[in-house]
C-alpha cells in the first residue's frame, strides 16, 4: 500500500486536472489544466522508470505545444461571452458519440495484450535513455524511420500552407 501512494497522488491529480480541462468555462484555464495533466502524467512515467519519456513529454507537450495553444487563445481572447450557444440536440449527440468512443476504447483495451519487452536484467529499465535508444535503432528501426518521414511530410505541409496564405495576402 505504501508503494502505491505516489501513484495514487499522481492519479488523483491527473483525473482532477483532466476534469478541469473539460469543465473549465474559460479556454485559457482549460489549457492550464491540461498543462497540469501533462505534469502529472510525467510523474507517472517517472514512477515507471521512464525518465526520458517523462522529460520529453514535458518539453514537447507542456513546454511547446501548450504554449502555442495558449498563444493562439490569448490572441483570440476567447472568454465566456464569446462562447457559442449550444442547443440541447448538440449536447445529447456529443455525449452519445463520446460515450461510444469510450466503449470502443475500453473494449479494445480489454482484449489487447500489451507488448512486453523481453525479460532479462534490463526489463524494468527500457525507459532509460540508453536502452530506449538501442531498442529504437535496432529492433524498431523501420517504424521509427517511417514515423520520422511522416513528421517531415507534416512539416513540409505546414510550410506549404503557410506560404500559400502569404501569396494571397
Amino acid at each position: 500500500m505504501m508503494d502505491n501512494i505516489p501513484f495514487l497522488i499522481f492519479s488523483f491529480i491527473t483525473i482532477l486536472t483532466a476534469l478541469g480541462t473539460v469543465t473549465a468555462r474559460n479556454p485559457v484555464y482549460s489549457v492550464l489544466f491540461l498543462v497540469l495533466t501533462f505534469f502529472a502524467l510525467s510523474g507517472h512515467y517517472i514512477l515507471l522508470n521512464a525518465q526520458f519519456i517523462a522529460v520529453v513529454n514535458l518539453i514537447v507537450y507542456a513546454g511547446a505545444i501548450m504554449v502555442l495553444f495558449l498563444f493562439v487563445l490569448m490572441l483570440l481572447n476567447l472568454n465566456k461571452d464569446s462562447e457559442a450557444p449550444r442547443p440541447w440536440l448538440w449536447q445529447i449527440s456529443a455525449a452519445l458519440s463520446a460515450g461510444m468512443l469510450l466503449v470502443v476504447l475500453a473494449g479494445s483495451m480489454r482484449e489487447a495484450s500489451l507488448y512486453l519487452v523481453k525479460g532479462g536484467p534490463e526489463a524494468g529499465e527500457i525507459g532509460l535513455v540508453k536502452n530506449l535508444g538501442k531498442a529504437l535503432f535496432t529492433e524498431f528501426v523501420v517504424p521509427f524511420e517511417i514515423s520520422s518521414i511522416l513528421f517531415l511530410a507534416a512539416m513540409v505541409g505546414a510550410v506549404m500552407i503557410g506560404k500559400k496564405e502569404k501569396q494571397q495576402a
Binding site: V28, L32, V35, Q51, F52, V55, V56, L58, I59, A62, G63, A64, V67, L68, L70, F71, M74, L75, L128, V129
Partner: protein
C-alpha cells in the same frame, strides 16, 4: 543510511537555494555597478560601505510598497504568475553538479542534488516551463501592453529553444551522455568542450540571452514600445519576483554554460593537487568563478548592445541560428563517426 542521505540532500537543497537567492540578490547590485562603470558613473553608494546594503534596501522597499491588483484582472492567475516564474527559475539548479564532493568536518558531501540520467533535458524542460509565468502574468493583467509582452516572450522563447536544443545535441553527441555529471567529468583539466564546439557555444550563449529575456533580446519588456511589457500591472513584491526570477535564470544559465562548455568545476592543473579535501573546495570555487564571469558577460552585453527590433530577433533565431546549429550538429556527427571508426 537512508535518513542520513535524506538529511544530506535537504541540507544541500537549502544551501544551494540560499546561495542562488543570495547571488541573484547581489546580481542586482552588480548590475547597477557594472552599468555605472560602463557609463562612467558611481552607481549605488549610499546604503552601507560601497552601497553594499542596497539590495536589502531595495527588497525592503518592495515589501512595503502598496500592492495593487487590477479590478479587471483574472485574480488567481495574476497572483500565480510571479510565483510560477520564481518556482521554475529555482527548480533548474537541482541537476547541476556544483562540484565533485566537499569535505566538511570529516563528512563527505556529494555536490549534486540529483544526478539524473537526463540532467540536461530536465533543465531544458524547466527552462521551457519558465514562459508560463510570463504568459499567465501578462494575460491575467488584462492589459494590452502586458499581453503584447507575454506574446512576444512566448514566441521568442519557443524560437530560441530550438537552436538551443540543437546546439546541446552536438555536445551530447560528443560526450555520449545526457547526464551533466558525466559531461562535466569528461572535461577534466583543460579538456573543455568549448575547444571542440566554439560555434555551438556561441549559439548556446545567444539563445541563453534570449531565454533569460536579457538585452539585447529583452523585447517582452521593451519600455519604448510596451511601457514595461508583461509586468506593467504588477507592483510591490510581485514585480520583485519577476525581476528576481530573471536574475536567478541568469545565474542558472551561467552555471549551465560553464558546465556544458567550460569544464564545469574542472580547472587547469587540478591533477597536481593531492589532497581531495582541498581539491573539492577549489573545484567549487572554480565553478563559481566561471559563473561570476558569465554573469558579468551577461551584464556587459546588456549595457553595450542596443535592443533588437522584433523582426530582427525572429530573423536571427530562425534564419541564422537554427541553420548554423544544424550545420554544427551535422559536422559534429560526422567527426564523431569518423573517430569511432578509427580515423
Amino acid at each position: 543510511m537512508d535518513q542520513a542521505l535524506l538529511i544530506e540532500k535537504i541540507i544541500l537543497v537549502l544551501t544551494m537555494l540560499g546561495i542562488t537567492l543570495l547571488i541573484a540578490t547581489y546580481s542586482t547590485y552588480a548590475e547597477r555597478k557594472v552599468a555605472a562603470f560602463l557609463q562612467d558613473r558611481l552607481g549605488p553608494d549610499r546604503a552601507g560601505p560601497f552601497g553594499l546594503l542596497q539590495p536589502l534596501a531595495d527588497a525592503g522597499k518592495m515589501f512595503f510598497k502598496e500592492e495593487l491588483i487590477p479590478a479587471a484582472s483574472e485574480k488567481w492567475l495574476f497572483i500565480m504568475g510571479p510565483g510560477i516564474a520564481m518556482f521554475t527559475a529555482c527548480m533548474t539548479g537541482a541537476a547541476i553538479p556544483w562540484g565533485t564532493e566537499l569535505h566538511i568536518f570529516g563528512y563527505t558531501l556529494n555536490m549534486q542534488i540529483a544526478d539524473i540520467d537526463i540532467g540536461i533535458l530536465y533543465i531544458i524542460g524547466f527552462v521551457s516551463m519558465g514562459v508560463y509565468g510570463i504568459m499567465i502574468g501578462g494575460w491575467a493583467s488584462n492589459n494590452k501592453y502586458s499581453l503584447y509582452g507575454a506574446i512576444r516572450a512566448s514566441s521568442q522563447m519557443i524560437s530560441y529553444e530550438l537552436a538551443m536544443g540543437l546546439s546541446i545535441i552536438a555536445v551530447v553527441m560528443m560526450s555520449g551522455s545526457l547526464s551533466l555529471k558525466e559531461i562535466a567529468a569528461q572535461q577534466s583539466g583543460m579538456n573543455w568542450n568549448v575547444w571542440y564546439q566554439p560555434l555551438g557555444f556561441v549559439i548556446f550563449f545567444t539563445c541563453a540571452l534570449a531565454e533569460c529575456n536579457r538585452a539585447p533580446f529583452d523585447l517582452p519588456e521593451c519600455e519604448t514600445e510596451l511601457i514595461g511589457g508583461y509586468h506593467v500591472e504588477y507592483s510591490s513584491m510581485k514585480l520583485g519576483f519577476y525581476l528576481f526570477a530573471e536574475y536567478i535564470n541568469m545565474f542558472i544559465s551561467s552555471a549551465v554554460i560553464a558546465t556544458l562548455y567550460f569544464g564545469g568545476y574542472n580547472f587547469p592543473f587540478q591533477d597536481m593537487i593531492s589532497s581531495p579535501a582541498l581539491l573539492g573546495w577549489l573545484q567549487f570555487i572554480a565553478l563559481f568563478a566561471k559563473i561570476f564571469f558569465f554573469i558579468f558577460v551577461f551584464m556587459w552585453i546588456r549595457w553595450t548592445l542596443p535592443r533588437f527590433r522584433y523582426d530582427q530577433l525572429m530573423h536571427l533565431g530562425w534564419k541564422s541560428l537554427i541553420p548554423l546549429a544544424i550545420l554544427n550538429m551535422v559536422i559534429t556527427a560526422a567527426v564523431v563517426i569518423a573517430r569511432n571508426n578509427g580515423f
